[in-house]
């Protein structure tokens, strides 16, 4: 059987959301939805799994604070203790208030950068990656539902036009 790709294009996010719900209740698989901005409730309507990005962020933050702690311990206590304003410089815990800014900043740095990198890897956005977006108008003001269908596309097209799609294309 030949696989056909159907695009339903919408003008409004509420219409899109209702359409997605309607399509899901008819047990039709949606391949992907493209929107110019995040639509609230769309992830629930599509039945997407909850993102594990938050857990990743927590792990990266822990990594950052550990790295900063070990780094500053090595620099300021073991390798080259320095007398700065008479602050205790032979033990880590006595001097910890002055190390907190470094550890705080490293936590933020690690969490932010590693999260961005994780996001880019997960989305397959390597340098030179080709755009997967089927219609450039979805980066402006249109919303698009993508289907991949074996056999007749009539049911999907009827459903799309019934729920208010402004344009239906088939490839």
């Amino acid at each position: 059987m030949i696989r056909k790709t159907v695009y339903g294009i919408f003008d409004d996010e509420d219409v899109l959301l209702n359409s997605v719900k309607e399509i899901k209740s008819n047990n039709i698989d949606i391949k992907e939805v493209y929107t110019p901005f995040p639509v609230h409730g769309l992830d629930k309507a599509l039945g997407l799994k909850e993102t594990r990005m938050a857990i990743a962020a927590f792990v990266y933050g822990c990594l950052g604070i550990t790295f900063a702690g070990l780094m500053i311990y090595n620099i300021m206590i073991i390798d080259w203790p320095m007398n700065i304003g008479g602050k205790p410089n032979f033990t880590f815990y006595h001097n910890v208030p002055s190390f907190v800014p470094v550890m705080f900043e490293c936590t933020v740095l690690f969490a932010a950068h590693l999260m961005s990198i994780t996001y880019l890897i997960k989305c397959g956005l390597f340098p030179g990656a080709k755009s997967e977006n089927p219609d450039p108008r979805t980066t402006d003001d249109k919303f698009l539902i993508e289907f991949e269908i074996e056999g007749s596309t009539k049911e999907v097209k009827d459903l799309l036009s019934k729920t208010g799609a402004s344009e239906i294309n088939e490839k």
Partner: protein
């Protein structure tokens, strides 16, 4: 319409009786240590009630829609503002008059700003050679602040803060009630303008009020971020109170349109402002600890080198920081009501201890301790607070009407 349950009414009366007992016993036994106790409890509950005004104003100027379904809660908290404000003014007037053993403010002591001894008429007393006699009680640093720390100016300022806050609070509340009755956009637009003015007024007054009422206790010491520090504390306890009352009302079956997402948003605020508070506290502490300049570090030695406060000093930072960050970090935790209630109560106590540490060590030096006077007055204020706020909740329908963003608020999902 909300009706107070019998248990809540009995509880509030019981707490008020404890409070009055603590007040009387405290003043009869030791007025000198009862005044700072009264001051920090008033400061704590005044902070909660003035923050409710700020919360409403913030929603207006940000054109926020999510909070509309629960706006009766901060509006009810505003009704405690006049009461705590009047108690605050009583403390200030008695401090200026030294009435009833009120010696909270060191800089108000007689003659502390006079370099030479004066007689009753204000003329210099001369010794036998005709030279003025140096005043042994003269404090050069305090005398340098005489322009700002002037008792008349001080009282005028205090009255302006309280009157201004009460005026804006009442006006915003009235506009919201009018909106329920008449509808239309007129009240909303007026509320927007009033809130914008309140923001300007509050930005200035909240800072100066914290210098006047709290920072001037340790007169020699100053901190440039003290206003923000106090504001961040008010923000934490304000959000905690709004959250706890909302959850209480929901548990009783009111506020049906408040859903998980609203609670989640309030939880985010509690979490975020707990971190802001810790950030402010640490910024203040770390710079002073690091530079170790005697006139600055005296503030912390008065707390850290004294046995009575040493434990509390670290304890309150630990619970105000660790409980929210560990227990409220994840999304599910902010949607878990029992965990929210637990953390909120813990940080409410933590910030109560913090306000104790702001006031008492500066007034009582090494003698301060948390006893029946402090806890009893705190409970008494708490009883009065829930009595007044719950009474205010019964006066207006809990479900709001006619707000332009109401529908959006009802459909909040995050």
């Amino acid at each position: 319409m909300f009706t107070i349950t019998k248990n809540a009414r009995n509880l509030s009366f019981g707490l008020m009786i404890i409070g009055v007992t603590a007040l009387i016993l405290g003043f009869v036994n030791d007025a000198h240590s009862a005044w700072p106790s009264l001051l920090f409890n008033t400061y704590f509950f005044l902070g909660i009630s003035v923050f409710a005004v700020f919360f409403i104003a913030l929603q207006y100027v940000a054109e926020a829609s999510w909070s509309i379904v629960l706006k009766r809660v901060p509006e009810a908290i505003i009704s405690f503002l006049p009461i705590s404000g009047i108690i605050m003014l009583i403390i200030m007037v008695t401090a200026v008059m030294h009435f009833g053993g009120n010696h909270i403010y060191h800089w108000m002591a007689d003659g502390i700003m006079d370099k030479f001894l004066l007689d009753d008429l204000g003329n210099q007393i001369l010794d036998e050679k005709g030279n003025p006699i140096l005043n042994p009680g003269y404090d050069k640093i305090i005398a340098g602040k005489a322009a700002f720390l002037d008792t008349t100016f001080f009282l005028i300022r205090s009255v302006i803060y309280i009157l201004g806050w009460v005026y804006f609070g009442r006006k915003l509340k009235q506009l919201s009630l009018n909106e329920d009755k008449h509808g239309g956009l007129e009240n909303y637009n007026k509320g927007f303008r009033t809130s914008a003015w309140f923001m300007v007024f509050f930005a200035i007054t909240s800072s100066i009020a914290s210098w006047d009422w709290i920072m001037s206790i340790d007169t020699h010491w100053f901190s440039t971020l003290f206003g923000w520090y106090v504001f961040s504390e008010w923000a934490v306890i304000g959000f905690v109170s709004i959250l706890l009352i909302t959850l209480y009302l929901k548990r009783l079956g009111y506020l049906e349109s408040v859903n998980e997402s609203h609670i989640h948003d309030l939880g985010k605020y509690v979490f975020a402002f707990s971190l802001v508070w810790t950030y402010m506290w640490f910024s203040q502490f770390m710079l002073i600890w690091y530079s170790n300049i005697p006139e600055e570090v005296a503030y912390f030695t008065a707390r850290l080198e004294v046995e009575n406060y040493k434990f509390l000093f670290w304890f309150r930072v630990a619970i105000n920081f660790l409980f929210p960050i560990i227990l409220l970090m994840s999304r599910d935790a902010k949607r878990n009501n029992s965990r929210l209630i637990f953390v909120c109560i813990v940080i409410l106590i933590g910030h109560w201890l913090n306000s104790y540490l702001l006031v008492t060590p500066g007034v009582l030096n090494k003698e301060g301790h948390i006893g029946f006077t402090e806890i009893g007055m705190g409970l008494g204020f708490f009883g009065l607070f829930i009595y007044v706020v719950f009474n205010a909740l019964t006066k207006a329908p809990l479900e709001t009407k006619n707000h332009p963003f109401l529908d959006e608020s009802k459909h909040l999902h995050t």
